[in-house]
Subunit: 337 residues, 3 copies
């Protein structure tokens, strides 16, 4: 429970309305009740503004006159909303200290303000920083380093020699530092290439549930500061991801792929190995990236969804395209003769 | 070990043969031995019926005359087979009670008939219903609710405020309630939008191994009764899945996607955010769904598999389609002049 | 720390240089320092050879003259490098014995030289072979068998009746033996088909992080000797994978799919159910395999990546291909008249 006046002051917003009005939650324009705060960040929801029953709306000053209830003004309502969510988050934070059912190697260094959950295992030589949280049943391998304020949710596995910087978040089921997929063909079959590198992750990196980031074969796999990674993303050995790049769910990067800064890869994108994407590249969903990209911009592949019966006919024609093209070239020639 | 007579009575089948004949297992028409029961659900396996060595075959009455061994008649042999599998399942069921190596918060309510496995952690305020099974090393977050008869296999993670109804099954490695992928661009990079909603799952829902269902940003992520979800499916924040919909492996749904009732999404389908699929939509494997669907029916995208050499030529022509189309239009004009 | 002389002898390489020269690590041609060993396996890196500062280079005899430092000769430098990596791997190996915080059923047989980590659970009737490692917080279901030298990294889950042969490696987050996705449509919705088969995995199989291999419905799901499987691969019930086949990350195989020997499936490939790929099939990344393949060779599907604006125009034309084709046929007819 807080008041509009407190929120305005704390988040640098301009209040138009009653500073004593109380808000107890955040909601959407449509669903907000009389104790909820909401926001308008996209002109296409303007109609919903007229009918909102919210306590107050965060919006751009230009829409204040139209707002039927109190409002908080800012040039970037979505950013203000993002920051406000922290206030209303009721997710429990584990208490500091090592749970008696955790298993911490005597040679590991754990800051007194860190939290190690029940069933967690911390191996030899690991260093856990201040305010860092290692959730229940996590595994922190030998010589790992977790910076201040980093949080591993329950069931995360770090193999040995994985470093995470400050204020990172790793969601449950993520596995960092498993072996890269390296094998040489031998006379009897595949022979394993032991993966000798580690994983190096910067500050303020978020890693989604079930995501896997493999260790490097010789050098490290590297994720720069501010990178955000969604669930079930696969990052192979020796990839390097640049600052503030965003990677959506189910993306797969093959080995030694380099992604620049401020890129976005939408859901289900696949990138072949040993290619490089420059800064500022945006790849749309499920695109197959088979070569390096040297110009910023948006890239795509695939075909549009259609009713299956119709799609089948077009798809058959796809496999005749080269032939069609030749028949067409023949016909053009005829015309010109 | 049971007899044909008992099976006929218990499952409402009509027996043609010896009620005292014993069966000890289930198998396919081809592999069944003289103590196995089998079934014929598809006319294309009729030839195999002639040679079967099974103890008995479940089949439609019209095929009884052709069956060389005893038979059990029903209009839906596949459904009868499905129900019979329960009899022959030797999967061990954990004993009721809280394992002494589980960690249960004193404020959690655990029914006396529930089973909490070794290493499982149950957080404050959670409620575990009758006959519910929480497998070894699972994590049940604060204020979660698990209805009667629901089973979490070992290593499932529920974050706080995740509700599951009755008779749900969640397979190992699944993560329910991790943060949705919500960030606002700020002056220094991405700023996290705390995910304030929960996850609400109905009755008789099955969730596959390694599947992730994120919590909602403001409202909840909602899965209706009777939904079945395969392995490694990714369901983003605020999705809503309608009753009895089936989602096969490796499907990815982006945020706020709404899927109707009785839909089927085949393996590897991807759906962009903020679209809605009406009831009765079927999407074929690996289709990229980029818009809402308002008519029931089957939908597809992609191109057919070909030998790589041939595919390469056609694929190049795909990227010249717009140009080809213009050249063609020019040629048509010429003809008409 | 070892010497070139020792390496030459141990790995059957011919040394050109100082047998007493010491090497302490492995690195790439470009990054290797004066105590590192490196290798040249691909002619395209010849330029880097000229400038290498490595202690020595493993290479084919024909390039020895060009090498500015000591060299070790072999016909297959990449294979020699692969074998050498084992020497330099600093990954810690857990000590033999059952950790006091593991939970092992009295009826399970655990070899004295095996290692069972903290928080691991080994169920009734399981058999764990010599030198086998069950990592922390793993779950080994009832009647599982793990052959000699097999290693489960922390957090792996095996359901009941899963067999692994000798010298297998299973990475964290993998789930073997979860229920296949089998349901029959019933009057009230989906009815579960209990999955009665198990999982049978041969020798020297590697299974990546987060990979799921479901148990069979009636018979077993079978993975042959020498198969290597990357991260987040989904193998459905009753699949059979032939010897030495390699499956890259994010591949999905639907139920009852049969893959031959010595195949390679690149990242993100999807294969529909009930099809069969013969030996020696190679499928390129993200291909959708919708039918059986009876000839060895390389297969592909999809469209090439383009700038989004350009792609959109071509994609629209894809959905008009059948129409274009008919218009073209009409025009051809006109010409011939």
């Amino acid at each position: 429970m807080t008041t509009l006046g407190e929120l305005a002051q704390r988040f640098g917003l301009t209040l138009s309305g009653d500073p004593a009005r109380q808000v107890s939650g955040l909601s959407t324009l449509v669903e907000a009740g009389p104790q909820d705060l909401t926001f308008l960040s996209n002109r296409k929801y303007l109609a919903a503004l007229d009918d909102t029953r919210a306590a107050a709306v965060i919006l751009q000053p230009e829409f204040a006159a139209r707002c039927p209830v109190d409002s908080l003004h800012t040039d970037d309502p979505y950013l203000a909303f993002a920051r406000l969510t922290a206030l209303f988050d009721r997710a429990p934070l584990p208490a500091a200290g090592i749970d008696p059912r955790a298993v911490v190697d005597p040679s590991a260094e754990v800051d007194a303000s860190a939290s190690i959950g029940a069933g967690a295992v911390v191996e030899a030589g690991a260093r856990i920083g201040p305010r860092t949280v290692v959730g229940a049943n996590c595994h922190v391998g030998a010589d790992c380093r977790l910076g201040p304020g980093t949080r591993l949710y329950p069931g995360v596995v770090l193999y040995h020699d994985v470093h995470l910087g400050e204020d990172c978040t790793v969601h449950s089921g993520a596995v960092l530092g498993a072996d890269g997929f390296g094998f040489a063909p031998g006379p009897q079959g595949w022979e394993k290439i032991h993966q000798l590198g580690g994983v190096r992750i910067g500050d303020r990196v978020e890693i989604g549930a079930g995501t896997t980031i493999d260790r490097g074969a010789l050098g490290h796999t590297v994720i720069a500061d501010g990178v955000i990674i969604d669930n079930q993303v696969m990052i192979a050995h020796n990839c390097r991801i640049g600052k503030n790049t965003a990677i959506a769910g189910c993306v797969g990067l093959a080995g030694s792929t380099i992604i620049g800064e401020n890129c976005t890869l939408a859901g289900g994108v696949g990138v072949v190995g040993h290619v490089e994407l420059c800064d500022g590249v945006h790849v749309t969903g499920m695109t197959m990236v088979t070569r390096s990209i040297t110009q910023p911009g948006s890239y795509s592949s695939g075909t549009p969804m259609e009713p299956t019966r119709q799609w089948r006919r077009n798809a058959v024609r796809f496999s005749q395209l080269e032939r069609l093209n030749q028949r067409f070239a023949d016909l053009e020639k005829t015309r010109h003769n």
